[in-house]
């Protein structure tokens, strides 16, 4: 029985490894009322983790058509993730601090 499971397990692990490597996670931090990047490029299906590295509350969101999201308020230290499953250019801002702005380019 194990003879059959082991190759299947190995195959599953290999496939699993490949699928994790295909969808990457990028981290963008918020500190001193600024995003750590002004613009990043990711592939469709990738995840961006927004981390509040500041000592105040932030609220990351986007109202870009078809790519909108609201991460709600993040206390210092909190991280929230967004998976971008549509190609396009999302304008990402903080609802609380209007001067915080960045772009996420999502490619096919």
């Amino acid at each position: 029985m194990f003879k059959h499971i082991l190759p299947a397990l190995a195959f599953g692990m290999v496939v699993g490894y490949i699928s994790v490597a295909l969808a990457a996670t990028t981290t963008v931090t918020q500190k001193d009322k600024k995003f750590s990047e002004t613009e990043i490029t990711v592939k469709k299906g990738d995840t961006v983790a927004f981390k509040n590295d500041d000592d105040i509350t932030h609220n990351v969101f986007s109202t870009t058509s078809g790519m909108g999201f609201d991460l709600r308020t993040q206390k210092p230290g909190q991280t929230s993730e967004v998976t971008f499953d549509r190609a396009g250019k999302a304008e990402v801002r903080c609802a609380i601090h209007p001067q915080m702005k960045m772009y996420v380019n999502v490619t096919e």
Binding site: K33, I56, T57, D70, A95, I96, H97, P98, Q99
Partner: protein, 359 residues
């Protein structure tokens, strides 16, 4: 022909000589702190350095012609439908560019929904109005002019009215060559003048620059509380004491604030953080003038505000003692600067009609 004084812009002069520089102050109070505490106080004070210049946008750069014209328009009551309300009626330089009222008053003595904000230091603002609905000073300037409950003046009619006054036509041509007197240029001229309205050096700034005698020990304790236990600096940050951001601070008001512009849960009852420059002179406080004195303000913050989903994550019960509250107020009082008041401009009037020749 009339003279146009190109000399002194009678607006608040931004004194570049008052640039604050931090240098190590060798006095008793600082020496009493250990080296680590001294270093962190110096680092904290560095966050409050005054800027060295006023920013002007590239699509509306500064010119003395624009600023002088903008100052005239700002003080001109003919900018309103009934010809008796000027920008300066509510944004009164004698009252630190506000009106001292809990809520503004518009045409026909209509009580407005919110308190008149000050015009101080708006060159650094990202968004204007309590709810941030105006993205620039240029656009904001044209708002109250046209609003029916405020100045109630149709913009096209205003352009015609001002065009009948030769000096205005000439000033617009000089300020905006090739464009002249248009609605947008009215906004641009007023915005240019407004950007020159900057708080002068206050006792607090002299302390930041190294003068240990500039503020009292109570105020110094208040500065520490402001940045630590009282957590004021979470929103009232930097030399202008505002983050230009939107927070629900838990006031008992039905006004939804920024939620009308940006309907995210965190924006319910959220209003723009005002500056604390001249705060001692600018009561009553809050977007609706509901808190009369700085003691009332401190009591509100000390209580933590109404607990609701939109309450800012940076609001909390503070447990400040009466003495600590007094110290924070003493500190806030060091933010009042002796601003030179602009000279009220001599406004152009239309010439008398020519008499008919005697028969």
């Amino acid at each position: 022909m009339f003279r146009i004084a190109v000399s002194t812009v009678a607006a608040v002069v931004f004194a570049a000589s008052h640039i604050a520089t931090v240098h190590a102050a060798d006095t008793e109070s600082v020496a009493a702190l250990g080296p680590a505490a001294q270093q962190s106080l110096a680092a904290l004070k560095a966050k409050y350095q005054r800027p060295t210049s006023i920013p002007f946008p590239s699509d509306n750069p500064y010119s003395v012609e624009k600023a002088q014209l903008g100052q005239m328009l700002f003080f001109d009551p003919r900018m309103s439908g009934d010809n008796y309300i000027a920008c300066a009626s509510c944004h009164n330089p004698a009252l630190s560019w506000g009106d001292g009222l809990p809520r503004g008053i518009g045409t026909g003595m209509t009580k407005l929904a919110r308190r008149t904000p000050t015009v101080l230091n708006l060159a650094w603002a990202e968004l204007l109005m309590w709810d941030g609905r105006k993205p620039s000073l240029e656009e904001q300037a044209l708002g109250p002019i046209q609003t029916d409950v405020e100045m109630n003046q149709n913009l096209d009619d205003l352009v015609k009215e001002l065009s009948a006054i030769d000096e205005y036509k000439l000033r617009f041509t000089m300020a905006f060559p090739g464009e002249g007197l248009t609605g947008p240029n009215i906004g641009k001229a007023i915005a240019t003048f407004e950007r020159t309205i900057v708080s002068n050096v206050a006792p607090f700034d002299r302390w930041i620059a190294g003068d240990e005698s500039a503020i009292s020990p109570a105020a110094k304790r208040g500065f520490d509380l402001f940045n630590n236990k009282a957590n004021c600096a979470a929103c009232h940050s930097g030399w202008n004491f505002t983050d230009g951001a939107f927070h629900d601070i838990g006031l008992p008001s039905q006004d939804v604030g920024r939620y009308k512009e940006l309907s995210l849960p965190s924006m319910m009852h959220a209003f723009k953080t005002p500056t604390l420059r001249d705060v001692d002179r600018r009561g009553p406080y809050m977007h609706d003038g509901s808190l009369k004195t700085l003691v009332d303000v401190m009591r509100h913050y000390n209580g933590g505000g109404i607990q609701r989903p939109s309450l800012s994550g940076d609001m909390k019960k503070l447990d400040l003692t009466k003495a600590e509250i007094a110290d924070v107020i003493a500190f806030m009082q060091t933010l009042t600067s002796d601003d030179p008041l602009p000279q009220v401009p001599r406004l152009p009037v239309a010439p008398q009609p020519r008499r008919e020749a005697a028969r």
